[in-house]
Amino acid sequence: MKNPQKKVETRDDRIMVVMNEMSHSGLPNSFVLDAGNLARQDNSIFGLMELWAAESDMEERAEIVADLQDHIDDDRDLPRDGTTTEVPKISFSNLGAVAGDIENFKAKLKDIIDRQGGPVAVAKMIGMPQPSLSRLLNSGSMPRRSTLYKIAKALNLSVTDLAGEWVR
């Protein structure tokens, strides 16, 4: 016989539960709110949040957080009018040089961040999950312009101090 007192957990309830867990784990509130809002609109994001909640490996959890932040940033940065964003094309023969430029730029950025207390301290200052900042610094991908602005603002630097040619 069914227990009439037992309340069925809805998807929204579940999102709230995971958001609470994320807050308790020390993730920035702005990140948790943005992830929750996106999960309400999109099943894949909800799936990633569930994956985070079920994951015991801290390294994989950090990767999920960095992926979620990427999706949050995409949702904010990509235009909503249905027009595909066209950007200047990079020819295949130039890709090696571009990768080198990005590495040099990131080495400079890492140096600035280390002088300001390192990635953990700076991530806190800009309200970004630390795994996202670590991915930005340690990966070979182009940094987001919006993230560089956030860093510049938090560290009281001029935007030109963090200007890079290859941003997205």
Binding site: S44, I45, L51, D81, T84, T85, S139, R168
Partner: protein, 131 residues
């Protein structure tokens, strides 16, 4: 079929290159020519090889709608299992994220692909060119 490089694919290429996931020669002789097979999708016989091409699955046998994976084993000095996520929508193949399969990241990457396909359907993606 038109083969589009999305912003996510370019970011992956840069990141994997940075991490020495593949050698330049492997990229030129195997990875890129295999991706170019998408121009004649599904006619190239390699698309019938299950170890090379298959649907992206979210676990429990549920496929990501319009999501596929191109697979290579033993790539680069680390003998990596490399995966390239592809969205086939209408007459276009859109290259999305590529990654090295390790641990439990396959499911996470399929969820990432599913989100990217949602954005592609809304026209919300970056066009980085064609191959």
């Amino acid at each position: 079929m038109e083969v589009m490089i999305t912003g996510w694919a370019l970011q992956s290429y840069l990141d994997l290159k940075h991490g020495h996931a593949f050698a330049d020669r492997e990229y030129q002789t195997t990875l890129r020519p295999d991706a170019e097979r998408l121009k004649v999708f599904p006619d190239d016989p390699k698309f019938k090889v299950r170890g090379f091409w298959g649907p992206a699955t979210k676990g429990n046998g549920v496929n990501v709608t319009d999501g596929y994976k191109m697979k290579w084993d033993s790539v680069g000095p680390g003998r990596n299992e490399l995966r390239l996520c592809v969205a086939i929508i209408g007459s276009k193949a859109l290259l999305c994220r590529a990654y090295i399969k390790k641990g439990k990241n396959d499911l996470r990457e399929c969820l990432n692909l599913e989100r990217h396909i949602t954005l592609i359907r809304q026209g919300r993606h970056i066009d980085r060119g064609r191959i």
